[in-house]
Point group: C3
Chain length 389, copies 3
């Protein structure tokens, strides 16, 4: 019945050969239990972690997103410079449109009626002088506000600074007003429209969910508990969720991250795929080791007066930039990753034999018995040749 033959006498026979390893079965309570326990561990890992937690049977895709935003609200300021003034969206959103981001002005230092002319350098820059010899014609310093004319002029009654050619009068180098001028911005609302796509699965969805109707959208405001599906956010709520105080943040400005997460299991009904909003402050508010804390930038409005001379209003605008960050991953059943994960799991099951073999052959009392049964030896050592029968 069993027959030892030379290896594969013909290709034809070789084709119909099936090789399978010879197996030694050890029947033992200890070894068997160890074996089954290790197998159970591996299977639990594969099913529990790989399949259930990591969804290894799914193919995945990352999100493509498009975001548009629309801020609403008005603020009122009353200053000696500007008088009573109303600020609307065209005034405080700068630039008027951006791709994934919007900026809301919350505080400002305004310098009216600047013209190209001569004036004494600001005293904070350190260009003090006693005579014209202390000033260098044409000096352009990054600390300075203009090009020095070489003259030394009175900055105030008792301080003299070098004269500069610049947009004069210079901006007052002061801390921004407290409370912030546009503190009303905390009640502004923003409508965030986000349309996403998982190209691999040809799946599109938007953050305005199908069950949300137009009349609801006209008055709702996002609230994590009562209105979790409303895409209209009050600025103060967003800042508060990030555990910041709006009025404090508004003074120097800052950067807020509006994170929209779209984790979707597309094996489930598509209505289960909903956005999850979180808010986080992105810039560093720690005053230590910081330069220019907060977020601000300068911009100007240009005018021409009757003589065709250009004047401008310089605004150092402090405010909050909201970066809308959309991320997420969708998964859907696919045969290829399923096969790969089953394969990898079975490979891990192979490790069970390695571990059990090691324990059986080194720790068990009957290890010599098992070893004799498991191993056969062929010696090819010349020094051992005498031992061969």
């Amino acid at each position: 019945m069993m027959k030892q033959r030379s290896f594969c006498t013909s290709l034809w026979q070789c084709y119909f050969e099936y090789s399978t390893p010879k197996i030694l079965v050890i029947r033992s309570f200890k070894v068997g239990t160890l074996n089954r326990f290790t197998q159970a561990l591996v299977i639990a890992y594969i099913i529990g972690y790989v399949c259930v937690l990591k969804k290894g049977y799914q193919d995945t895709d990352t999100v493509l997103s498009s975001v548009t935003t629309k801020v609403k609200g008005i603020a009122l300021t009353n200053t000696s410079d500007l008088g009573l003034r109303i600020w609307d969206v065209a005034d405080y959103v700068i630039p008027p449109q951006e791709e994934n981001s919007f900026f809301v002005l919350t505080n400002l230092i305004i310098t009216l009626n600047q013209t190209q002319s001569r004036c004494p350098e600001s005293n904070s820059t350190g260009f003090y002088c006693t005579s014209d010899r202390d000033c260098r014609v044409g000096l352009r310093d990054t600390r300075g506000n203009g090009v020095q004319t070489g003259k030394c002029v009175n900055y105030s009654a008792d301080v003299k600074t070098c004269e500069v050619w610049a947009w004069c009068p210079l901006e007052m180098d002061a801390e921004p007003p407290v409370p912030p001028m546009l503190g009303d911005a905390e009640n502004f609302t923003v409508l965030i429209k986000n349309s996403i796509r998982y190209p691999k699965f040809n799946f599109n969805k938007r953050n305005i969910l199908p069950h949300v109707n137009t009349s609801y959208l006209e008055h709702c405001v996002f609230n994590r508990i009562t209105d979790p599906d409303c895409p209209i956010f009050r600025l103060k709520d967003m800042v508060t969720e990030a555990e910041e105080d709006f009025q404090t943040m508004a003074v120097h400005g800052g950067v807020m991250g509006v994170q929209i997460s779209w984790e979707c299991n597309l094996d489930m009904p598509s209505s289960w795929c909903v956005p999850k909003y979180t808010f986080r402050r992105l810039d560093n508010k720690d005053p230590v080791n910081n330069v220019a804390p907060g977020y601000n930038f300068r911009f100007a409005k240009y005018y021409k007066n009757g003589d065709n001379q250009e004047t401008r209003t310089l605004i150092k605008g402090f405010g909050i930039r909201f970066d809308v960050m959309v991320f997420g991953q969708a998964g859907k059943f696919n045969i290829v990753p399923t096969l790969v994960n089953i394969g990898a799991g079975l490979a891990l099951l192979g490790l069970v034999t390695v571990v059990c073999d090691w324990i059986v052959l080194t720790c068990m009392t009957k290890k010599n018995l098992y070893m004799e049964q498991k191993y056969s030896y062929v010696d090819d050592f010349q020094l051992l040749s005498s031992e061969t029968p």
Copy 2:
């Protein structure tokens, strides 16, 4: 010749030991065919799917991209407010430059000569009143256009609304004009310059291909059939490819995705690595469950009149934002993924034995014969000890 010995008498011998499993070869038409057929399946999967389709022998890298855009074209409008007016690129691209995106104004509601003053609230906001008691001084509502002064004034002959301090006159809350004012925008062209880099392979390329010369670029327009390499796109063509109507979309605006795909096999000549353009509408045009459909934003131009009083022209601009999305993956032969994939393939071949064993030992008529040959047993059960010789 063959000798049973105790395990590894010395480390020296152990070093020169080579362990190989003992194999049972079953020569059978049925089993052999089953075995070869399963092996062929696995090998076909590895070669066909992993190597050819997924290019498992390649290392991959994702694209780094830089985009600049330049819109060209002029539009003419003739309205009672503005008279005959020409619009050029500095008028309709807002803001004038963005990183991966550009906006073209296609329609607008213009409000001229706004000043900070008092006027009756617009009737669409619902702030109707019969006397001053219906209005609250200082009320700032997100629906409103300004801060209420507490007075009730005539909005029209028979309607009274609360007076507000605002940029007056208020914008007429109306639907945008149909046909769109800048419908001419359909003939605008945009030059999209895209330079990409695959850092891992130190490979750079741009969407202006080497064989395209300057004189061709001066007059060409992208056409999928006749001019597929021209990087100049007519706005209407892009919208039409996304199966939308330009004039309809221009009324309320929208967001278009200009997708540039750079899928490159760098084992092939680099001239085969060319961009592929596709166009898709990104926003939701469905009027159901939608607020503020389309894409619009408000911006203003500020002026000062002779008395140094600030006036502004408010524009509610509707238009199409084109988001240029560059994506892609390059692959190039690398020894490491090749080894990994061959290894994984051989591991899968190991599964063939598992499957065949199961069939041979449960379904074949001679299964007992095979089982006897394949398995040896060592019993360690105390209850079975009597059976041991």
Copy 3:
């Protein structure tokens, strides 16, 4: 002791069975050395490449980043059109804020006092004419600057072109000035504040490192050797590091990539996780096969004169756009990838047996001896049935 039995007489016994393959140990200098050498190769690959180089025992995460920038510096120009004029940050950064990018104006072609009116088409557009019949009323051509009125007028003493309704006077279609008007921009500095986050490890860091104090930040400038931790960059230094000449690049503009790389091994002290800055030119400076080389765009400032008529100053601005690109990957020890990599490594060790078997059974002189020991045969061929005992 050893006993051949029918397969798994009861489920109970089956549960306590442990199957382990029977092994043939070949003791031979040649085969043993070959075996150990191949094993050493695989182990060296696993430890050296997978563990040390690729850090296969680590879980990885990609960076989330937020960037803000602040440019400082002033430039002086002296032209016949504008006279002596100073340019500060509100003048040359357009738009005043962007998300991951900033633009610095370096050169410009300015057209003052444009109004909506009639003027002869520019001669570079090719709309030459001899009489009104050569011009078409209402023609809007992408090459042209306005809408033709149908008249033929004198462009200069000896050239006649079609008249257009446009923003007149038209921009002079000329090359940008050399040297660039705002060549002073090379000494501008930019503070780049970058805050990153690895969400999976809850790790935050910013490019202003803890040991950098505020007084140092007030005057430092980045230098790869002396000040590698200073987040303030001189524009010229960035361009020079990318092996470009600032003054040359400033004439036509261009796009620079400021790459911040955050490769972090979070098993090490977090202070070892520092940003690495590199600079690269992103656009194509090669004049061959190029249209509109460099980077420029048109924008306008709008004014109203005494008669309430709108005029504008058109600026064709050339400049350098700096795209801040933040990328990186952090790794931290995690048990799952460690297990997966150990498993994959052991699977590769299984390949050693395949390779050695092949060599032993085909190349060695004693191959028949090994083969006899390794293989047992069961024949199931009908044609061979006579051979079965």
